[in-house]
């Protein structure tokens, strides 16, 4: 079985295509500088910024967006890693070096976040790296304090985003206990941190590859997979399965109100995977045909449960009662030190919902964008740390943060 271990597969992969990792940050070159005025506080505090971005990224695709994405992909494949990072350091350094007073970590974050292929946590860590770069601190302690402030303001800016919080925490954790601190020279330590942060995008991509590899054992020929929402990891898993010539079909829920399922079904149709679209309420109806449920996660919490797009919980409940396995694909940087006890235990992430018809003002609308699925309804988690049972998540988190 050793040849099926992740590292071995990965090794082989790397031999095959060394230049594969895309370099999404190269996009930044073309992205317009954000205006400073509205950036310091969240323009619409009652609407979850995280889900807004997600909606913008994953909702059914407009033509111009497609064109943009296509362009991005071509840039990515042509560009290689080193030239991308060289090119990027210059503009950010120039922009912030001029006047440090107006540098804002939130702007930085937002500009990173605009890129559709970039995970939220990656954007957060990139933004923190920019803070290090812009900082004029001369000691590690100063730098740490500055970073702490920046990450706090980031977290406060969008409290609804779990991966933003987790990303910030993770990076802060790294800064406080990195071996870089052992370097005598402050500058080399600082450089080290920046380097780390910059490679994080790559890591996030690789994590997705590992998860895709690991989950191949679970997708067997002839199986039917129910998918909810649009998740880059899930797409990667299914894509890899299709590339491995597995015969399977996918049921996509519609994913109201963002209609993220439509987008996923588009992507899968491009890969020639048989797809069937379901309305969200047809899950129980189709469940007896389904062999497994595969979902992504916005965040994996300490209990081993997940926080994900609205509707995941009820799908998990239905599949639990019909004894179907529920698999979650999530990168380990989504592990968060949160412990919701029930659905209302987290701050709600609100979003606008378009019903197509005017709703009378007396009628209340449930606007929450996500729900919490407790661990007892999940079968396994596919992460870049391996295939875990839900209870191991807490083990990893304890080792990570304590």
């Amino acid at each position: 079985m050793w040849w099926r271990s992740a590292s071995f597969i990965l090794d082989r992969q790397q031999e095959q295509n060394t230049n594969l990792p895309p370099n999404p940050e190269s996009l930044l070159l073309s992205s317009p500088p954000p205006s400073m005025a509205d950036s310091l506080q969240n323009p619409k505090p009652d609407i979850s910024a995280y889900y807004q971005t997600r909606a913008a990224h994953h909702a059914v695709v407009t033509n111009d967006w497609l064109a943009q994405a296509q362009a991005a992909v071509s840039v990515q494949t042509n560009d290689d890693v080193s030239s991308g990072s060289d090119g990027r350091v210059a503009p950010t350094g120039g922009g912030t070096g001029g006047d440090n007073k107006t540098f804002s970590v939130i702007d930085e974050f937002n500009s990173w976040r605009k890129q559709p292929d970039l995970a939220e946590a990656v954007a957060a860590i990139r933004a923190l790296a920019a803070v290090i770069r812009a900082s004029q601190a001369t000691t590690m302690m100063e730098l740490e304090i500055e970073l702490k402030k920046a990450s706090d303001s980031l977290k406060a800016w969008d409290a609804t985003s779990i991966s933003l919080t987790a990303g910030c925490d993770l990076f802060m954790r790294y800064v406080t206990r990195t071996s870089a601190l052992e370097y005598e020279d402050f500058n080399s330590a600082r450089y080290r941190l920046i380097e780390r942060a910059e490679k994080f995008g790559e890591i996030s991509y690789k994590a997705r590859r590992i998860i895709a590899m690991l989950s191949q054992d679970f997708i067997f020929d002839g199986c039917t997979i129910l998918v909810h929402g649009f998740s880059r990891v899930v797409l990667e898993v299914l894509k890899t399965a299709a590339q491995n010539k597995k015969n399977f079909r996918v049921f996509c829920t519609e994913g109201r109100p963002d209609r993220t399922g439509l987008r996923l079904s588009n992507e899968l149709a491009k890969l020639d995977v048989p797809v069937k679209l379901l309305i969200d309420s047809a899950v129980a109806y189709t469940m007896d045909e389904v062999d497994m449920v595969l979902v992504g996660a916005d965040g994996v919490v300490e209990s081993g449960g997940i926080i994900n797009m609205m509707g995941t919980y009820q799908i998990a409940l239905v599949s639990h009662s019909m004894n179907k396995p529920v698999y979650v694909a999530a990168e380990s940087y989504k592990f968060a030190r949160l412990y919701p006890l029930d659905q209302k235990d987290m701050g709600p992430a609100l979003r606008t919902i378009d019903f197509g018809v005017p709703i009378p003002s007396k009628v209340e609308v449930e606007k929450s964008a996500r729900d919490y699925t407790p661990p007892q309804y999940l079968t396994l988690l596919f992460t870049d740390l391996g295939v875990l049972t839900p209870s191991v998540v807490s083990d990893e988190l304890i080792q990570l943060y304590l």
Binding site: S5, A6, S7, F8, L10, D11, Q14, L170, R173, Y174, R177, T178, S179, E182, R196, K199, F200, E202, I203, K206, A207, I210, L214, E302, S303, G304, E331, S332, Y333, F335, R337, Y339, L341, D342, D345, P375, T383, D384, L385, G386, V387, L388, S391, V392, S394, D395, E396, I398, Q399, L400, Y401, L402
Partner: protein, 636 residues
């Protein structure tokens, strides 16, 4: 000690375990160890990297998250258990038997027979039965077998010696068979007993076997206190190079005194300071627990106050307070005990021709056994005593007496401050985040941490209601209720009988715990399990608040095998209500057994979350805390 732990300590952030970091540039890898357990790392490490990695965890592929335990680990452990002193029959001073509870483990790796060289202790963990050269016959002592297999070995030591050169392989084949044969032989021996079938060896064997069958627990229990002392003393004798083994020995579960074992109980009685009279009608299922008449010893003990030379007055006082129930609650008992020990250490002076480390350990052990006689130790006190003894054992020999004493007293203070007081504060900080406006919180009994949580949440201006659930006979909830009402919280008070009615209004259940065991079982005041189960049925989250020093690596499945029995009179009579006297005159009836349990075990299924000083964790992660932190913080 534990490779997994040590590998992680220095220079290397635990962060590396999450797929966050890229491989370090190779030229750096020599100066600093691989700083990440990055699954993405191309598996072509330089030789130096390989050396840096810990044997168990880091070199594994990321898929295998829980590093497989080394077989040798197991082996070491069994070897150590084999050498631990407790025993039923000894043929010579050096003879050691394998406790039967380890029978399966022991037999799985070195069947039937274990031979350990007692005279060359430094080499013993690696010694296998077959590896001892026959020429060392004189120095080699025979490790006895579990009773099942012992008929042969018990027969004559000559026979054993003849056997020894047999290769390990043949021995292995024998073992499982040997056990089965032992049983058969036992039956046969019983039948043939009348025939008085002859040889000395076989009659001895049958005696061993039958006694083992009738009282299976007999061989397992050494006297608890005595063993404590001897074990520590024994482990000290050996040099500093054996420190890890000593630690492992401490890992081995400590056999408890079983009170249905008559001979042990007799022995223990002889030593006892407190003369407890046994209850007349002992509850059948709980015979293994001490069941005494309550309320008789106190006056007797008080008169003895001035006669007891070895007992320090502070310890004596605390013991009496335990006995009378003046001090109760895990934290209070633990703090009181430590304060008394501190007094005792302060007044301690090493007797001539003795060393402080050994004498003080023995002294503490005798105090502990006195306290046990007054009231069985709680698990948290057990942990605390382990800590103290460990500190004593690790005192540098060069320290002068006064320095050693002040070090110990500082350690005690530090334990009380960090492990109890500070961790309560941290727990409060965590727990308060789970209280929202409009909540109805239910608590059972009186837990000091839960009280602090409620009061602090109230100070923060949160609006919530409290339901205090209480039960006979202790009615501890009333004390809590009194303090809460004084502070202006709005409270409801009810008895546990009504918990199913009140539960539908409740949004959170906060419970204290006497201990949390490593399978997530919560060991707490009797009635807690009932409350937790009702809450679970109503889908109300159950939050257990427990300091990490109360965690224990034991696994317990029910509340029978380890528990404490209270005064049966407390449940048969209602104080102050003379008209309720239905049981008058019945208490001494043969066919009436009154059972007043003090604790019960709540299965982890009913617990949503454990709040501890390390944060909020699911009950499944208790062993992680025990594994990762106990060793560092408590034992070091």
């Amino acid at each position: 000690m534990d490779p997994r732990r040590t590998a992680r300590t220095v220079s290397d952030p635990k962060v590396r375990q999450v797929g966050f970091f890229t491989p370090a540039p190779p030229e750096r890898s020599i100066s600093d160890p691989p700083r990440f357990q990055d699954p993405i790392q191309p598996p072509s490490p330089s030789p130096t990297q390989v050396n840096d990695q810990s044997p168990s965890g880091n070199s594994l592929s990321p898929v295998m998250i829980p590093p497989a335990h080394h077989h040798s680990d197991n082996f070491l452990r069994t070897a150590l258990q084999a050498t631990s002193p407790p025993k039923a029959f000894s043929y010579s001073a050096k003879t050691v038997t394998i406790p039967p509870e380890n029978e399966d483990v022991a037999s799985s790796f070195s069947p039937g027979r274990k031979v350990v060289s007692a005279k060359s202790p430094s080499s013993f963990p690696g010694v296998k039965a077959s590896s001892v050269p026959a020429s060392e016959l004189t120095t080699v002592s025979v490790v006895n077998l579990p009773p099942g297999i012992s008929e042969k070995a018990g027969g004559a030591s000559v026979e054993v010696q003849n056997d020894r050169p047999v290769s390990a392989k043949t021995l292995k084949e024998k073992t499982s068979k040997a056990e089965r044969r032992a049983l058969q032989e036992a039956q046969r021996a019983a039948k043939a007993a009348a025939k008085a079938e002859g040889t000395k060896a076989s009659s001895a064997a049958s005696k061993v076997v039958t006694s083992a069958n009738t009282k299976p627990s007999k061989a397992t229990k050494p006297s608890s206190q005595k063993n404590d002392g001897s074990q520590v003393a024994a482990s000290e004798k050996k040099g500093g190079d054996r420190a890890p083994e000593k630690d492992r020995k401490k890992d081995a579960p400590h056999p408890r005194m079983q009170y249905d074992d008559k001979s042990r109980v007799e022995k223990a009685k002889k030593r006892a300071v407190v003369k407890q009279t046994e209850a007349r009608n002992r509850v059948e299922l709980f015979r293994h627990l001490p069941q005494y008449e309550h309320g008789t010893q106190l006056p007797d003990l008080e008169t003895k106050f001035f006669e007891l030379d070895p007992m320090h007055p502070a310890v004596y006082k605390v013991g009496l307070q335990y006995l009378s129930g003046d001090i109760r609650g895990g934290n209070a008992r633990c703090i009181a005990m430590f304060q008394a020990f501190k007094e005792a250490i302060k007044d301690y002076s090493t007797p001539p021709e003795k060393t402080l480390i050994r004498d003080l350990t023995a002294r503490i052990s005798s105090y502990v056994s006195f306290l046990i006689e007054c009231r069985p130790l709680s698990i948290s006190m057990g942990n605390a005593i382990k800590f103290l003894k460990n500190r004593i054992a690790k005192l540098p020999l060069a320290l002068s007496e006064s320095e050693a004493k002040s070090t110990l007293m500082l350690d005690i203070d530090r334990f009380i401050n960090e492990k109890i007081i500070l961790s309560e504060k941290v727990i409060v900080k965590h727990a308060v985040t789970k209280i929202r406006d409009g909540d109805v919180l239910l608590t059972y009994g009186a837990s000091s941490v839960v009280e602090m949580i409620l009061l602090h949440a109230h100070e923060l201006g949160k609006h919530f209601r409290v339901v205090v659930v209480d039960s006979r006979p202790k009615l501890e909830g009333q004390l809590l209720l009194r303090r809460l009402v004084r502070k202006g919280l709005s409270c409801t008070y009810t008895h546990v009988n009504a918990v199913s009615c009140i539960m539908q209004d409740v949004t959170r259940v906060f419970l204290g715990a006497s201990s949390v065991l490593s399978n997530g079982t919560v060991y707490s005041r009797v009635g807690t399990a009932c409350v937790a189960m009702v809450a679970h049925a109503f889908r109300v989250p159950v939050l257990v608040c427990c300091e990490a020093y109360k965690f224990h690596e034991r696994v317990q499945l029910d509340s029978i095998c380890f528990n404490e029995l209270g005064n049966p009179d407390a449940i048969s009579k209602v104080q102050g209500r003379e008209e309720i006297n239905y049981l008058d005159g019945l208490v001494n009836q043969e066919n009436l057994q009154l059972l007043n349990l003090i604790y019960d075990a709540t299965p982890s299924d009913y617990v949503s979350m454990v709040i501890t000083d390390y944060g909020m964790i699911p009950p499944t992660s208790v062993p992680v805390i025990v594994r990762e932190y106990r060793r560092d913080h408590l034992w070091s």
